[in-house]
């Protein structure tokens, strides 16, 4: 991979005594969409929280543009151009949609006001519904609209790289595709690098360029998504495609080999 923008080297993080990720190494190339797949509790969100400084890693290093950023203040990390769209949206429910967007731009200097206004208009271009609801409290939006707001809010920090934590959570398949189309557009049109964490492997593999599979805190497999989609284990355990054997029967319990 050329031009690595973000790199994790053997990162270990824990919640108290519970180790959530046990030595994760991954690379994100500039301008790409990279996804980390994994089941519940595999440590996907922990990876993102560690990158954005909410959790400090116990071991390992995180390099952004080749410089270590681990154990820095979350506000500092946002200012470097890493924006986090948290799991479960985490919007500000009593602020209006517009105020939520302004909070996304919090780290930008006051002199940027005109640029921020312009970008709010751009974001409304991606999600016209947000413009209609600009003056409403964000807590009154539907789940999908809140997800749109969360993504837009992160965009207003003018990120180089955006960390997306389960954008499909709780959304209908149709809405999920709509949101992923926009994510792809943001990636292509604005050149925002995207690190995406998903349980919905089918959608993630469709839209991402490169993928990692995380199991109980360890990366067990990595490849371009086009390759990953064809791997037997990924097909069976993440896509639910069962390959019946020659005799038309399957072994009911199969070991994952990750080959």
């Amino acid at each position: 991979m050329t031009d690595v923008i973000l790199q994790l080297n053997n990162v270990e993080s824990a919640y108290g005594p519970v180790k959530a990720i046990r030595g994760v190494s991954l690379k994100v190339a500039r301008g790409s969409i990279v996804t980390v797949l994994g089941a519940n509790g595999a440590g996907k969100s922990t990876i993102l929280k560690t990158i954005s400084g909410i959790i400090d890693p116990q071991k390992g290093s995180i390099l952004y543009h080749g410089e270590p950023i681990q154990k820095q203040d979350p506000a500092w990390i946002v200012r470097q151009g890493i924006a986090h769209v948290p799991e479960g949206r985490e919007i500000f429910p009593l602020l209006t949609v517009r105020e939520n967007l302004l909070m996304g731009a919090y780290t930008r200097p006051l002199g940027d006001k005109a640029a921020v206004e312009q970008e709010i208009e751009q974001v409304y271009g991606y999600f016209p519904i947000l413009q209609e609801r600009a003056g409403q409290p964000a807590g009154q939006l539907s789940g999908g609209q809140q997800q749109m707001l969360a993504i837009s809010r992160a965009l207003l920090a003018r990120p180089t790289i955006m960390l997306l934590d389960e954008p499909s959570l709780g959304l209908s398949p149709k809405l999920t595709h709509e949101i992923f189309e926009i994510i792809k557009r943001i990636n292509r049109e604005r050149g925002v690098t995207i690190l995406l964490v998903e349980q919905n492997a089918r959608v993630a593999l469709k839209y991402a360029d490169y993928g990692y599979v995380l199991e109980v805190g360890r990366i067990v497999m990595e490849d371009p998504c086009s390759v990953l989609r064809e791997k037997e284990d990924v097909k069976e355990f993440y896509l639910g495609i069962k390959d019946s054997g020659v005799r038309g029967t399957r072994r009911w319990k199969k070991k994952k080999t990750w080959r």
Partner: protein, 292 residues
């Protein structure tokens, strides 16, 4: 009827004081989910600062008023930094005990300062003993000033919270602290500022109250009346705190006049009990569920 209106007018003035202290409670509660039991004592310290400003330093009353507000702003911020922030992440119980401790400490230290001591002091104000006749009503200037200054303070806070970036960030932090971290909002500094504002508002209440009562080390116990105000308004709502304060103030004044001796002091708590039974969230309690 005239008598009734007269009572309501003085109840409203009293209620403004309760409302301001309740506002102090609510600000801190919303931002940090702790109840600051030293709120009344911050008010008392503000009163003494005004006293020193006018008597010892010879400042005009309004200059001393604003000086006391500014000093209390920094005092509140220092308090958060020195006492509350090290307790971050500790159980709520620990933090509440710490605020009770701050209250006792403040009362103790004030009595040790030679000029302040255990005496009751009179705060000289330029509008002392003036009255205004409106229709048949006789309104004392003290009460009018209380209402007017409260209105100005509330307006200032409203503009701060609605129309400045830092104010919106304060709201954001109180609604979703984790998300505020994600946005790069300096949450700890915001909480410090909230403590400062809360202390300043309380000091304002103390300085407004001083002309009708006195300045003394135990004047902070009026904070116990501001609690019912905050609860009635719905703990966590800024307009609620003010409305709650007005209700408690008016009810208390009326109860003191029309009901038998002793009801004045319990009236506020009776209102709270009724409120908790009928509408536990308070008048302005916010209730927005999180969508999955």
């Amino acid at each position: 009827m005239l008598q009734f209106l007269q009572l309501v007018a003085s109840g409203v003035a009293q209620g403004c004081i309760y409302g301001l202290i309740a506002l102090g409670f609510v600000l801190i509660y919303k931002a940090t989910e702790t109840v600051n039991f030293a709120q009344g004592d911050l008010m008392m310290v503000g009163g003494f600062l005004g006293l020193t400003g006018t008597l010892a330093m010879g400042m005009p009353f309004w200059a001393a008023f604003f000086a006391a507000l500014v000093v209390m702003l920094f005092f509140g911020m220092a308090l958060e930094r020195a006492v509350l922030r090290p307790l971050l992440g500790q159980p709520a119980f620990t933090v509440v005990m710490a605020t009770i401790g701050i209250g006792f400490l403040a009362r103790g230290i004030v009595t040790m300062i030679p000029e302040w001591g255990t005496d009751t002091h009179v705060l000289p104000v330029p509008y002392k003993d003036q009255v205004v006749h409106v229709g048949g009503l006789v309104l004392s200037m003290e009460h009018i000033v209380i209402v007017a200054v409260t209105a100005m303070l509330i307006l200032a806070l409203y503009l701060l919270f609605k129309h400045t970036k830092i104010g919106i960030a304060m709201q954001a932090t109180s609604q979703n602290q984790l998300a505020a971290f994600y946005m790069g909002i300096p949450v700890r500094r915001i909480n410090m500022l909230v403590w400062g504002i809360s202390a300043a508002v309380s000091a304002g209440a103390g300085l407004l109250l001083a002309p009708i009562t006195f300045v003394h080390a135990n004047m902070g116990f009026i904070g116990l009346k501001a609690f019912p105000a905050a609860v009635v308004g719905g703990f966590g709502s800024i307009p609620g705190a003010l409305v709650g304060g007005l209700i408690i103030g008016v009810v208390e004044t009326l109860a003191g006049f029309y009901l038998p001796e002793g009801f004045k002091d319990v009236a506020a708590y009776i209102v709270v009990l009724i409120m908790l039974a009928v509408k536990p969230n308070g008048l302005f309690g916010e209730n927005l569920r999180k969508k999955v």
